[in-house]
């Protein structure tokens, strides 16, 4: 099953994608055509959304770092999300804004001190993120700092959440980013430094994970700077294809 959050007739609602992927089915039986749907990021308000830095060895080498000994985790604020087909503001001086395609694991039940063998049973589903960074604003304090990673609407998420039961092996999915049709990132979730189970073990060791919490699991190599008006597509095999448009002010 694929679940999406959309804006429909004055309210935010969760909907289920039809098998032919042409319609979104609401609780009350209403069917909304996918074409023209107002997609929202499928994020539960109040959820904790974690993101990972340097979690693919090839991207880590590309940035000139050594693989970290423990996961490099940062947290997203609710201002940062935007749905499928949305726009992401690119500041006029943000010439080094680059997309990062990431597999997102969604937590389905509360857990603390979760064991590795049970870890994936805590995942209810998966979605796609494009975790933009703007490198001009990097500073070496709590890096990656919020001015780089927590700007309004610079973390597209979606289009939908695919049930975990429908994903045979989340650590063997092809992921890619294209900009105006040209491939700029291409990798596999097999190459994560800390895999999803490992990240759940790490985080739940010191804090309680709640239903709706999300883990953006990092990005493979490929740093390509976007321009206003580009079409950026992050796609993950078996999960979905997330489209976003960077937009200059004015």
């Amino acid at each position: 099953m694929r679940r999406a959050r959309i804006f429909h007739q004055g309210r935010a609602v969760w909907a289920v994608l039809s098998d032919d992927q042409a319609e979104l089915l609401l609780n009350d039986g209403v069917r909304v055509p996918v074409d023209g749907a107002q997609w929202l990021a499928p994020v539960t308000p109040g959820a904790t959304v974690f993101a990972l830095g340097l979690n693919y060895a090839d991207h880590t080498a590309e940035l000139g770092f050594k693989a970290p000994a423990e996961p490099l985790v940062f947290i997203k604020g609710q201002n940062s999300f935007v749905g499928h087909n949305g726009t992401s503001p690119r500041p006029q001086d943000g010439n080094q804004m680059h997309p990062e395609c990431e597999l997102v694991a969604i937590i389905g039940k509360p857990g603390r001190k979760i064991s590795r063998e049970n870890a994936l049973s805590y995942v209810s589903g998966y979605t796609v993120a494009c975790d933009y960074a703007i490198r001009e604003y990097l500073e070496n304090y709590y890096r990656p700092n919020l001015r780089v990673k927590n700007r309004d609407a610079t973390t597209p998420l979606g289009p939908w959440i695919v049930d975990a039961a429908d994903v045979a092996d989340p650590q063997a999915l092809a992921l890619s980013t294209t900009v105006n049709g040209k491939i700029v990132q291409s990798g596999s979730t097999a190459d994560m430094v800390f895999d999803i189970a490992g990240l759940i073990v790490y985080l739940s060791d010191f804090m309680t994970l709640k239903p709706g919490d999300m883990i953006l699991t990092g990005t493979p190599h490929g740093v390509h700077f976007v321009a206003g008006g580009d079409e950026v597509v992050c796609e993950i095999e078996s999960i979905g294809r997330l489209v976003n448009y960077p937009k200059l002010p004015g």
Partner: protein, 204 residues
């Protein structure tokens, strides 16, 4: 009501930063901070009911940094209420990487009641911390590198503080440390007192 994100800022204490000027110029920092250095306290850290803070057995002591929390309303970037807060964390010397494990444990952000406030009154009085009835720390907003209006302006220059978001206005570099079994009170003349205690964490 806190329905949004809770943001805090470090290195917003003039006295702390004065002592770090040499370090700011060296690796891994290379230069003093330009933008406010923000962090996020996720919702599992919130304790709004006066319940005890659970301290895990592996932490012999924690930093207990008294501060003021500002709650934002429907007028963009304008705080509508203030409360005392105690930002608890595992002591850590480096500000290079986000301190998630250190700052984001369950219950590590007890807060008092939010009330309407007056900026002048907030600035005029000190924030006092008492441990087991003994005053151990005092500081005032006059130590802030960015006073509240400047802090809000510099944060909202690159991100929105929306209704239901909270901003913690800074931490004292010399904040006290506390242990399991201790009772903490935070006082400020213009805000309701915050009382909490530190208990050994017991996992279900």
């Amino acid at each position: 009501m806190i329905v949004g994100s809770v943001y805090g800022v470090v290195l917003n204490d003039r006295e702390q930063n004065a002592g770090m000027m040499d370090a700011f110029g060296q690796k891994p920092y290379a230069a003093p901070p330009k933008a406010p250095v923000l962090y996020i306290k996720p919702h599992n850290t919130l304790r709004l009911d006066g319940a005890a803070v659970p301290v895990p057995g592996e932490l012999p002591e924690v930093e207990a940094a008294a501060t003021i929390a500002l709650l934002f309303g429907d007028q963009l970037g304008v705080p509508v209420a203030a409360a005392l807060a105690l930002d608890v964390c595992e002591p850590h010397a480096s500000y290079y990487r986000p301190a998630i494990r250190q700052r984001c444990r369950d219950g590590f952000l007890p807060m008092g009641s939010f009330v309407a406030y007056d900026l002048v009154a907030l600035t005029k009085s000190e924030i006092l911390t008492l441990i087991d009835g003994v005053q151990v720390h005092r500081w005032s907003l006059e130590r802030l590198v960015r006073a509240i209006p400047d802090l809000i302006a510099d944060v909202t220059a690159f991100m929105t503080l929306a209704d239901g978001d909270v901003l913690l206005i800074g931490l004292a570099g010399d904040a006290p440390r506390a242990r399991v079994g201790q009772r903490i009170e935070v006082r400020h003349a213009a805000l309701p007192q915050l009382v909490t205690s530190f208990e050994q964490e017991v996992l279900a």
